[in-house]
Symmetry: C2
Subunit: 170 residues, 2 copies
DNA sequence: GTGACTGCAAAGTCTTTGCACGCGG
DNA sequence: CCGCGTGCAAAGACTTTGCAGTCAC
């Protein structure tokens, strides 16, 4: 996927953990071992995830009492607040994605496989700006979801998932 | 609001209730008094609402045992399925809007007053189509939320609501 | 040291489900 | 009259909170 809408590569001066540490310091909060572990797991690979998926990845640490479910939720909220993660409601739960050193983008959402495909388009931001101007509206951000079926699922003849547990409604 | 992005007026041949009746018939379902009451309330005015707000409007009928909470949820799901309502997750709950005899549109979402302002733009659909083509993606629908502050709230100097109970996170 | 942070358990919020009775077609 | 639909109560999924002990600074 290298077309007009592909995302440019990431470049960051400071690691997510360092940036989070700075955020915490600025608020008189502490960089605890739990927060460190969670940030490391969250930024170990670029992917969309929800709290439950993250908890699964952390299950060993949870079993060893290194970190707990409420702390994961609490830390995710802080990472969102700090601008390191972006939280978005999808299918009745919150899904998170990296928002640090990562370009603004929007999503194609495949109803069959639940995959989120990221794409970038300057034109969308321009368009939002024009509409906002018309309504004298001050933009903070925008979010565009294009729902449908990805190429792979169409080739396999998969229909939009009818199993509700498989489906993340947009 | 009569600019380029205003929505054109509504025109429908069949009333929402009639259309719902047809939907039910086609599925071997029944048009019960409860379903009738709910459809009448839902389409009595054009507005966004969530289940809790609808339940409030129906509180008298609920008190009189004419309709119950589970039935409201069940019927909202059917109205969504029937294409009469559109369901969208907003701030941890589902918000519904009319989707029958109502033109495709997108939303400006004011973080201060939680209002949803509808607007229409052909350009957005065209843009989605172009991106989808690039990714060989079959579009079912799209949803664009522009989050920020509306003119009125800005004039009043209101900041984005810090009261979490007031805030519907997008 | 001291106060922010944690794990635990419990509660909250929104939504769904099992079941026996009731009513629409 | 058949069986879908209902109300009730209870459970479910996800997330948040109160509290007493613990640890970062």
């Amino acid at each position: 996927m290298v077309g007009r809408y592909a995302l440019r590569s990431v470049r960051v001066a400071v690691s997510p953990l360092e940036r989070f540490a700075e955020f915490l310091r600025s608020r008189g909060k502490r960089l605890t071992s739990q927060r460190r572990l969670i940030v490391e797991q969250v930024f170990s690979h670029h992917d969309h995830f929800d709290a439950e998926e993250l908890l699964e990845h952390l299950q060993e640490l949870i079993a060893r009492r290194r970190v707990s479910r409420p702390t994961v939720y609490r830390t995710l909220a802080e990472l969102d607040e700090a601008g390191l993660l972006k939280k978005m409601p999808l299918g009745g739960r919150n899904v998170y994605e990296h928002d640090y050193g990562y370009p603004q983008h929007d999503h194609l959402y495949c109803q069959s496989c639940n995959r989120l495909i990221e794409f970038h388009s300057e034109a969308i931001a321009r368009l939002c700006a024009r509409v906002a101007q018309e309504y004298d509206f001050e933009i903070v951000s925008h979010r565009l979801f294009v729902t449908g079926r990805c190429a792979e699922c169409r080739r396999q003849g998969l229909l939009p998932s009818s199993d509700p547990s498989e489906q993340r409604r947009c």
